[in-house]
């Protein structure tokens, strides 16, 4: 016998708490962390290095190795977009973390996650003039 509980109040309470928690965290952090504002845009002065937005930096880091890596980005995008239609994908019968029947997908996703995060960290903290590798300290 499955143990059901009414969404109200049990589920709704959880949702409200999550909602309030995120709002409070962001509202407080916004007071503590000011948004950076540099001098007005100057077309005549190019910063060295010129970095793209933080959430795209991993693509810039990748392309800095070789332009052909842009195709890796495209392939990754297509792979994840079409994930449910991969061959041998069977309907999920029960929710659980890291199901064994999709071991390959789990590993590829983990590899992609590590790749994106690692590249982002390298690009944010370890790239100096002319995209050279520098220690940030």
């Amino acid at each position: 016998m499955i143990d059901y509980v009414k969404s109200s109040p049990h589920f709704f309470r959880l949702i409200k708490r999550a909602f309030v928690a995120v709002c409070l965290i962001l509202l407080v952090l916004a007071a503590v962390i000011p948004a950076p504002l540099q001098e007005a845009a100057d077309f005549g002065r190019v910063p060295n290095p010129s970095k793209s937005a933080w959430f795209l930096l991993w693509t810039q880091e990748l392309v800095s190795y070789s332009n052909y890596f842009v195709y890796l980005i495209v392939v990754m995008g297509l792979f994840f977009a079409l994930l449910p239609w991969l061959p041998r994908t069977r309907p999920a019968e029960r929710a659980c973390w890291f199901p064994r029947e999709q071991r390959v997908v789990n590993l590829l996703t983990l590899a992609s996650f590590v790749l994106i995060v690692t590249l982002t960290i390298i690009a944010v903290f370890f790239r100096g003039e002319n995209w050279s590798f520098v220690l940030p300290f």
């Binding site: 509980v5 969404s7 909602f19 995120v22 948004a35 845009a41 495209v74 999920a92 029960r94 996703t109």
Partner: protein, 208 residues
Amino acid sequence: MSFVREFIAHLFPRVVRRNDLKLTYTFCLGGLAFTAFLLLMASGLLLLFYYQPTAEGAFASILFLEEQVAGGKYLRSLHRLSSHALLILLFLHTLRVIWTGAYRPPRQLNWLIGFALLCLALFAGYTGYLLPMDQLALWATQTGMELLHTLPGGGILHAFLVPDGIGGSLSLLRFYALHIVVLPAAMLILISLHFYRVRKDKGVLPYL
């Protein structure tokens, strides 16, 4: 107001399994991302009253907002942090969906909708990045646009997005329109679809 409460209540199932309420089941990442999105819209709406989408006026209006408007600096900071939170939470939500197998049939369509939302959020973040028109904004966006050229077909996209170069009046206006109208509207539509499909595919939490 009971109408609003009942409408919101109808977004969720009447009953849920007790086990599904454990935080580690989903970590509520999708809902948290939606919360960040709401904060983004609220703060962005207020910023609209001060921002000027012209090449000459953009930076000056940000300066005015920060130095002359009570709470202006805070508001801009909130908007920026909410966008960071949205992108990170969306990324983690995507990971959770994959790693719990929740993308598999019969949720293919919902996976596509969610994936599109992630792309739209990234695009919204990118278009918003330029708007302050300071050195950071200009060159980060320019660099991002250069990356576009390495893509097949990137030239066409580039011509549409920046007809007169990054920071030109037409391009800034186009980024502005995308950032405050087109992308939020598209995202709201897809979010509604996403929530609808979640219910239709059984349960806000997977596998009711």
